[in-house]
């Protein structure tokens, strides 16, 4: 009952008798109305801050000094080029990306192939791929810091059982870096596996049966049927993984805090330190601009790929 009264009043208020024509006319107005909240949010939280970021990077703005912002041109960028920590953290970030992205792909592919076996019950397999995805990165960092604990960690315990002397993981830059990369690969490979698994399940079984008839071996089937058909899904997953790898923060922050020294610090950690700890917003902005440009390169490649697909 209430709905009918409601609709009649609405009809009187909003809709003239020829409502179909009205609808055509209001399409644009409606679109503007519906897209406005998203547009406002995006411009408030992304577009304006990006503009602000670029702007601030040309200023000397340190909140600790209490001095007003002063235009310094490219001075922040000049400082950056001369700053060894900038180069070290950027190199670490690039290295983490180059190691963990292919690493997660290979491990994820392995997990997906295993998960694609004809199990009678699917949920434990699915769950074991979902749990690492859902675990917060910061939690994964803490858990694996405990794993790699030199005295009571399970990694050294397992090594000891195989007769290998345990090591102090977080005292050596290389070992600490390796521990961080292993953790990132563990955390991100499950998501890769889920994407690849979804791709695997769309490949028609008849293709493999035909290949069997033709006498193609399992390995050849993998390289000539599975891999080419999975390519689109893998490319998209790789691009997203690359962009998130460039932003690596949580896991090294929790596991080593960037140490020993700054040997495992990432660019994101350096941005955070300059902004939140040193309150040097000018320099922090210049660093963030570098990261922005790095990930924009990847995004441009991504958009290219999508365009060519359409």
């Amino acid at each position: 009952m209430t709905t009918s009264t409601l609709t009649t009043t609405q009809r009187i208020e909003k809709e003239p008798p020829a409502w179909t024509r009205m609808l055509d006319l209001s399409d644009r107005a409606l679109a503007v109305l519906l897209l406005a909240p998203a547009a406002i949010l995006l411009s408030l939280i992304i577009v304006y801050p990006v503009a602000r970021l670029a702007y601030t990077s040309f200023f000397s703005l340190s909140l600790t000094s209490g001095l007003p912002a002063e235009f310094v041109g490219l001075e922040n960028y000049q400082l950056m080029i001369e700053d060894p920590v900038f180069w070290e953290t950027t190199w670490n970030t690039v290295l983490i990306t180059l190691i963990t992205v292919p690493g997660a792909l290979v491990v994820g592919m392995g997990l997906a192939l295993l998960a694609n076996l004809p199990f009678r019950t699917q949920w434990p397999v699915r769950l074991s791929l979902l749990i690492p995805w859902a675990l917060p990165l910061s939690f994964a960092g803490l858990i694996f810091a405990w794993f790699f604990h030199s005295e009571y960690g399970v990694v050294n315990d397992v090594l000891n059982r195989f007769g290998i002397e345990g090591v102090i993981w977080f005292n050596s830059p290389d070992l600490a870096f390796a521990a961080i990369c292993l953790t990132i690969i563990w955390k991100t490979s499950s998501f890769m596996a889920l994407i690849i698994l979804a791709g695997l399940q769309t490949i028609p079984r008849s293709l493999y049966e035909a290949a069997d008839v033709d006498g193609a071996g399992r390995l050849r089937q993998f390289f000539e049927i599975t891999l080419p058909l999975l390519k689109p899904a893998i490319v998209v997953a790789l691009i997203f993984r690359t962009i998130t790898a460039l932003q690596t923060f949580d896991i090294p922050y929790m596991m080593t805090g960037g140490g020993p020294g700054t040997s495992t610090a990432t660019l994101a950690m350096y941005i955070h330190q300059n902004t939140v700890s040193f309150l040097d917003l000018g320099y922090g902005s210049a660093l963030a601009v570098v990261m922005f440009l790095l990930s924009m390169c990847v995004t441009v490649v991504y958009l290219r790929i999508i365009r060519t697909k359409e």
Binding site: L30, Q122, L135, L137, L142, Q247
Partner: protein, 284 residues
């Protein structure tokens, strides 16, 4: 997903022993870290420092959980995390449902351009916004408020949720809506009375992804909310570390408490989450 149960010609290998090994590898890989933290949380400090280390707790105790709640306001961290995640999820869903409807149903001139822009934004590195957002939140006096996190978290999931919902909306026949409009519904009325209910699974899936994204976020929470009363769980967990001491059993207990809510969500809605992740919501 679960139709691959028949014995039949297997896709890659077959045979029971292989399946057993595969299942073991998958389960150990996926579950062991969480299980290990659970075991650690049940051990006493004394048992933890025995060498060689024990794997299963000999005398399980819940004392660490009591201590996790008494040493730090863990319930407050949980509450903050939950409210920030819930409120940002609701905002994301509301905004993305409207935008996705416009993109899926209205004949927009710049549809392709808008979609490309959304895809570009979905790859946006949130880390770079740390500086300007910090500046803005500070200027607006929003540091140490929920809003300082809800706004960026909403935007964090907005592109992915919108893209996902566009594809869900496109799957719903227009006739249903037209019928509702002939019956006197307005367009927005048809959206909320016909389209959204039909898309409920899709909207719900988008909601879970947005919730997990917000629950997991660390950097902005760490940077914007330093007040202990407003810390979210990932940030609050750091407070357990003393200057020299690292009370692992208590930290483990706090971690378990933080994992359980999301784990429950994942266990109940696993199929939906998988389909959402693999459909269009591609973000690690």
């Amino acid at each position: 997903m679960s139709h691959v149960t028949a014995e039949g010609p297997a896709s890659f290998f077959s045979g029971k022993p292989l399946r057993f090994i595969a299942a073991t590898i998958l389960l150990v890989n996926g579950m062991f870290p969480a299980l290990w933290i659970l075991f650690t949380s049940l051990k006493t400090e004394a048992e933890l420092t025995v060498k060689p280390i024990t794997w299963f707790p000999h005398a399980p105790t819940v004392a660490n959980y009591m201590q996790a709640f008494s040493d730090q306001p863990l319930h407050i961290f949980l509450f903050n995390s939950f409210m920030v995640a819930l409120l940002s999820t609701c905002t994301t869903l509301l905004v993305s449902v409207l935008a996705a409807y416009a993109l899926a149903r209205l004949n927009l001139k710049y549809r392709g351009l808008i979609l490309s822009a959304i895809i570009a934004v979905s790859t946006f590195p949130l880390v770079t916004l740390l500086v300007p957002l910090f500046e803005i939140m500070r200027a607006l006096n929003l540091l140490n408020t929920w809003i300082a996190l809800i706004l960026p978290y909403t935007v964090l999931s907005l592109p992915v949720c919108t893209l996902m919902l566009v594809s869900f909306f496109e799957g719903i026949p227009r006739d249903l809506e037209n019928a509702a409009m002939i019956d006197g519904c307005t367009r927005l009325g048809a959206l909320f009375k016909v389209v959204v209910p039909l898309c409920a699974p899709g909207v719900f899936t988008a909601g879970i992804l947005a919730f997990v994204n917000a629950w997991d976020e660390f950097l902005l929470a760490l940077s914007f909310n330093s007040n202990p009363a407003l810390r979210t769980l990932p940030v609050g967990i750091q407070l357990y570390q003393g200057e020299f001491a690292f009370p692992w059993p208590v930290i483990s207990a706090a971690l378990v408490v933080g994992i359980v809510p999301v784990a429950i969500l994942i266990v109940i809605f696993q199929e939906r989450v998988v389909s959402g992740l693999t459909a269009g919501g591609i973000k690690g």
